[in-house]
Structures are given as structure tokens and as C-alpha cells.
Subunit: 218 residues, 2 copies
Amino acid sequence: MRILVVEDEPLLADAVAEWLRGESHAVDIVFDGAAALERFGVNDYDVVVLDRDLPGVHGDQVCRAIAAGHGETRVLMLTAASDIDDRVTGLALGADDYLPKPFAFRELAARVAALGRRARPAAPPVLERAGITLDTHRHQVFRDGRYVPLSRKEFAVLTELLRADGAPVSAEQLLEKAWDEHTDPFTQAVRMTILKLRRKLGDPPVVLTDPGVGYFLK
Amino acid sequence: MRILVVEDEPLLADAVAEWLRGESHAVDIVFDGAAALERFGVNDYDVVVLDRDLPGVHGDQVCRAIAAGHGETRVLMLTAASDIDDRVTGLALGADDYLPKPFAFRELAARVAALGRRARPAAPPVLERAGITLDTHRHQVFRDGRYVPLSRKEFAVLTELLRADGAPVSAEQLLEKAWDEHTDPFTQAVRMTILKLRRKLGDPPVVLTDPGVGYFLK
DNA sequence: ATGGGGGCATGAGAATCCTGGTGGTGGAGG
DNA sequence: CCTCCACCACCAGGATTCTCATGCCCCCAT
């Protein structure tokens, strides 16, 4: 899941991002509202963790902008404990949830996960194509009935390819889905992962290359 | 199983929580309705033990909120004996069970267990998989017919693994279900408990790990 | 046909992450 | 006082992930 953290306190922002990454989400950080708005022109986020008290553009404004322009994106608003009665205000602005500081990271992660579930309701648990069966629930992959052990990234990439349903997926898209923004755009990580996937999935090849475009299945 | 106790009398709340912890449940306590409502944004509880007579937000309101927003969560309502005719009212509000004070802790525990089973449809009182037999009633575990004494946490973790039915369960998920909210998110408690479980359950290993994903059975 | 050049595959490490395990501490309870 | 449980600090081995370097293949302009 792709998440944007908007928080002006760098230490807190980092801690939150780290925790969410531990939940295998792709997390970007910005430190003020203007930068946040800029991000929305660039990327699609599933969830935004938004500090209400931001320098410059206020969190409320950011929230309104998201609610207006990005129907898919869910907002979790963070606020100082003193604002606790602003709960109604926050929700009225279009926030989907509201979390008073101080909070436990576990709480935050749990709420983010809940929002993500809301944003993306019905993803089929079992994907299938070209002799590949992928069970998202059990984290298992079979090739022609034979179990194929995959690492985390391999699994994530294969899932994206399956979701694309045969359409080519560019390395950039894969980077966006399964890695976070801080990864070097010229990284070879995708290639490596594809390579290993091909090896593990065996013959005949199912992961094909559309040169200059991307990777696709069967 | 994760349980929230909502009870304004601290001594009673503590006693109930302790009793339930003895049954290997993870228990959080709050003393009023507002705090209870806040908790629901944070964790999903399997069961809520809810005093009807609360200061501030009344137990009925809490109950209604739970029924509206948390379909998975079951409510056991506690009430003064004089209210005994309110049984119908209570159930109409969305409570799943109703227990008049004073009550025996054993009875409360039994009803909570029953509700927990109901929350998981088709979860029988005896779970079984890969040579492991776990009796949720008697708190007993057998490996290939041989009795295995487990501590509370070990029992709780094994129960969650069995309920996952072979799907991997992450350490974070286990923390959510088997530990209460005062737990350090970076704790190694889960790993340690898994380690001990494996030792006690003996060979061949049944608790396996899916690296980077979680633990699973068989 | 031929000599680049871009895009891609591949191999060999290096850095990092994950995990199982040891030893030890503190607290609850007998 | 002793035992058991829950937990933390820490370590080492192994897997994973990623970079660097190299080589292949196809296309195309010469």
C-alpha cells in the first residue's frame, strides 16, 4: 500500500514511516502542506497520514484538497491532544479517521490498515494466470500445482503482475507499487527480482519482457 | 483473543481483567464510555465486556456504536440486578449477551468464551491441525495425543495460529490479538513465545516461519 | 555487413535484514 | 526462598536485496 506521511517534526515523521514500512507499505514523507499538495500531482496514495498542525498550508486545507480531488485516498489526521474536541471538525473536512497525539505506533498502523481495507475493498484472494496460482491470503504460489517458495519482494512483484492481468507493467510502476519513493529510480532491484522470479517459476517462461515497455505474464 | 473491559469501578474492572487474562486473553481496561469509543478506532476487539451504568457516555450508547460500526465485535453487557427486566432492551441495542450483577467470574469467562466462538463463525471449541489438538474449553493442548503444558501466552499464540488455518500470521497481528495495548511495539515477546512453543511442541516442527511474512502451522 | 548503442540479462559480491538462540533480569506466586 | 513466566539485550548464521560489472541481443545508421 502506498502511504504519504505529512508531519513537520522530522523525528516523528521518520518513526511513523519506519513503522509503516515494517508493515510492508511503501511510505513517502513530506514536512509541510505545500509539499504534500505537490505529491498528489505526482503519485496516487492509498492513505495519507496527515498532521493537522502544519507550518504554511494548514492540515485542514490539505485535507480538504484531498477530499475534493482524490476520492480513492483516505486520510488519517493526527492532532494534538488539546484539539480533541475538533474531532467532528476534522471528520467534516473529509478526514476518514482521527488520531490524537500522543499515540502508539501500533494504533496508527492498525488504523492505517483499516483505512486501506476501506479504500480497496474487494481484492480477490486467489489470483491465477498461465499456470500460476497465487494465494494472497496464505502467501503461497504454485506453478502447475507445484509449490514455489518466494521471498517477500518476489511475491509482491508477482502479485502486481497478476493484478495487471497480462498487461505489461513497467519497472517504474513496479517500483511505485512495491518499493518506496526513496529508492533510487535507476536501481536494478526490479530486474534482479524479475530474474529470480523467472528462475523460481521455471520453464516454460511465464514472465515475459515487452522491451521498452515493461514486464507481463504469459 | 482480544477483549476490552468497560467498567467504572476499578476494583471490579481489575478483577474481571485478571480473571480473563488467566484464560489467556489479552485484556484492555477503560473506565468510561468515551474512552471505550476511542479504543475502537485503535484495535478490533473480539469481545467487549460492557458495564451498562457508566458515567458520561452511557453503556447503551457505547453498545449502539459498537453494533453499528463493528460487526465482528461481540458485546457482553453487565447490569445491576434491579435492571433485570432491561434484558430485552439491552439485546435490542445490539448486545450479544447479558449478565446481571453480581455474577461469578467463572460464568463471565464462560460467556466471553462463548461469544468469542460466535464471533468466529464455525470455530469449533476444539481446534486441530498437523497433529496439534487444542481444547479452548479446558485450555489443553495435545501433540499427537500427548499432553503439552503451555503457559498463558503460549496458549494464546497457538490459538491464533490455529485459527489462521495455515495462513501466515505476522508478529504484529499476534501482538494485536494476544497482547494488550501497553506492549512495546518493538518487543521480542512474540519471537520468544514462538521459540518456546516450538520447543514444547517437539519434533517434527509444526510452527513454521514464512520469512518477512509471519508464522504459520504445518 | 558492420560497428555502435540502448535495453536487458546475468553473475559475483556486499550490505542489510531476518531469525533462531543464549543468557540474564524482574516480578508473581507458591 | 525458589520456580516459573515474560521479556530484553545481544549474537551469529543465513537469506534477501541491491550494486557493480559484464556480456548478450536486436535495431539501425553507416
